[in-house]
């Protein structure tokens, strides 16, 4: 018995060491981004993690630019939220059908859905633009978030895999209780899928937030566009002049909302992962 305890202790220490080393690698780029954003431009290449002296000037430059960042920030937020809601809703609906309901052609349809993941989006940009132009929707943000409401291959795939791990006895029990298909989806599967939904929410929000091309071609120019487009507009001069401190400040601001969404949602799925599966 004692041997087992020693073995576990050694393995635990090794685990901590390895994980810690890896964690440093994972996190350092972010620390570097934040650190550089507080350095004076002259110090941008110093190798210190804690800037000394630290300055807020880089952030001040961002807000001094005449670009109405708050409006772009608001646009980005609204659009990203709409996209996330659309995906969560329609992907889970489809995933339920693919994972749980028997119907003819299910496998073929699912394969067809997966196939759409293969299409590089640069070329589909123009055909889609022409369609939205027909509909008179260019110049608005609608073409950016509306497609989120008609499903998505990745989201459906992710949730379907998760639904597949939920034990069938729950469904059988619900059926015995007289539940309809819709109720099984809404009352049984959806609540149990929180980890997968949280993961999809993060992924989708991030994709929408970082999207450059779609807001670029559909929305008017800065400042009536999203934050990503506005930052690209602002940053071109900074890159040329090697103004990395300001670039880092802009970069950090641009990912801050993503980090916030992440820290909020990770409770559900980083910790949630530990709870699933044990239910057997």
């Amino acid at each position: 018995m004692n041997n087992k305890k020693i073995e576990k202790a050694i393995l635990d220490i090794v685990t901590y060491l390895l994980l810690s080393l890896g964690a440093v690698i994972m996190v350092t780029p972010f620390l570097w981004m934040i650190a550089t954003s507080f350095k004076r431009p002259a110090d941008q290449f110093t190798m210190t993690l804690i800037p000394n002296p630290a300055t807020l000037d880089n952030y001040r430059s961002l807000f001094n630019v005449d670009l109405n960042f708050p409006l772009m920030f608001a646009n980005s937020t609204v659009i990203s939220l709409l996209v996330t809601i659309g995906q969560l809703l329609t992907c889970s609906m489809a995933a339920f059908c693919f994972a749980v309901v028997k119907f003819r052609g299910r496998e073929a349809l699912f394969a067809a859905l997966l196939a759409t993941l293969l299409i590089p989006f640069h070329v589909t940009l123009i055909p889609n633009f022409i369609i939205f132009k027909w509909l008179g929707l260019t110049g608005t943000s609608v073409p950016i978030w509306l497609p989120a409401f008609w499903g998505g291959a990745f989201g459906t795939f992710l949730i379907r895999q998760y639904f597949l791990t939920i034990p069938r006895d729950l469904v059988d029990a619900a059926r015995v209780d007289g539940a309809s298909l819709l109720q099984i989806f809404w009352r049984v599967y959806l609540p149990l899928a929180k980890p997968a939904l949280a993961a999809l929410a993060i992924f989708t929000f991030q994709g929408a937030w970082n999207d450059l091309l779609h807001p670029l071609i559909y929305m008017p120019a800065a400042p009536n566009t999203t934050l990503t487009v506005g930052l690209a507009f602002f940053q071109q001069q900074m890159v040329l002049g090697g103004k990395f401190t300001i670039l880092m400040a802009g970069a950090f601001i641009s990912i801050l909302p993503l980090l916030l969404v992440f820290f909020f949602a990770q409770r559900y799925f980083i910790q949630g992962i530990a709870l699933t599966g044990v239910k057997r």
């Binding site: 570097w32 609906m93 590089p120 070329v123 055909p127 008609w150």
Partner: protein, 295 residues
């Protein structure tokens, strides 16, 4: 994979209602765009005048276009390095993360962090890290008494770019594998212990076979991502006016469509990329039938 519940009578309506949005998107958005791309690949279109039919000539030139072939080779090399790298490393990390030790939640959060960012924003930091004379990595190497390395020079750029992409994807793989690992019933391990199995045997006889579904998912997604990778590669290797030292196929598509006024050629390249990845998918699906264990 298993059979499911059969919708009863009028419930069939609900099945179609639930599927309707996805079906609509599939037909009108995805396949509509795919067909348009396919159609355009048989034309020469400069975006300003109407497309001109040219038959297969775009596809034929793909075989002789040195720049495209180079992009294809780069993409294949990138995928060959990236996919095994990200799958193996994130599996290893997940196995470590699966142990019940204190503070594991914090570690998991830290490992997922690189996933939750904008590649464009983070690539800026990596440029600073990889800098030849000004970079953090070389500074550390010098402090350790080692020779600085030119991370973004031709011979090493591919590896450096693969590292950044793996860094950005470990968290996702970790979560996928964790979900798979925690789904393995504890009884299997307990039973094998009674039979006298050691840790290694447990890993190879129990763990590995039972997480093959996760390995399948992760490999599939990573392959698709590898062939469409663009942001990190471009931001780290770009030079001049829209050029890159490691051009990949997506980059070539972008340039032909938006810089060279050759939308037809870009479409053909996109279709070819799609076919290559589809072929790989077919291989994976065949492998799934042979190797993946579903309970």
């Amino acid at each position: 994979m298993e059979a499911g519940i059969k919708p009863l009578g009028r419930e069939k309506v609900w099945l179609w209602i639930l599927l309707a949005p996805t079906l609509f998107g599939l037909v009108f958005s995805a396949f509509g765009a795919l067909l348009a791309t396919l159609g355009l690949s048989f034309t020469e279109w400069d975006l300003f005048t109407s497309p001109k039919w040219v038959g297969f000539s775009n596809y034929i030139t793909l075989f002789t276009d040195k720049r495209f072939l180079r992009a294809l080779a780069n993409t294949a090399q990138f995928a060959a390095l990236y996919v095994p790298g990200v799958v193996i490393i994130s599996l290893f990390v997940a196995v470590l993360m699966n142990r019940a030790i204190k503070g594991i939640s914090l570690y998991r959060t830290m490992y997922y962090l690189p996933v939750v960012t904008s590649a464009v924003a983070t690539a800026l930091v990596w440029n600073m890290i990889y800098g030849k004379d000004t970079g953090v990595l070389n500074y550390i190497l010098k402090q350790l008494g080692m020779q600085p390395v030119c991370w973004l020079c031709a011979d090493r750029a591919m590896l450096s770019v693969v590292i950044v992409n793996i860094w950005g994807a470990i968290g996702e793989g970790m979560i996928i594998f964790l979900a798979g690992l925690t789904a393995i019933p504890k009884e299997y391990y307990e039973a094998s212990e009674i039979d006298g199995a050691g840790r290694f045997q447990q890993f190879f006889r129990i763990t590995l076979p039972l997480i093959t579904p996760s390995i399948f998912f992760q490999t599939l997604i990573s392959t698709i991502n590898a062939f469409q990778a663009f942001d990190y590669i471009y931001m780290l290797t770009r030079r001049g006016q829209g050029d890159s030292s490691i051009p990949v196929v997506v980059f070539s598509i972008y340039r032909n469509a938006w810089h060279f006024n050759k939308y037809g050629v870009a479409s053909a390249q996109a279709i070819e990329l799609t076919l290559i990845v589809a072929a790989l998918m077919a291989v994976y699906l065949w492998a799934e039938k042979k190797f993946v264990v579903y309970e």
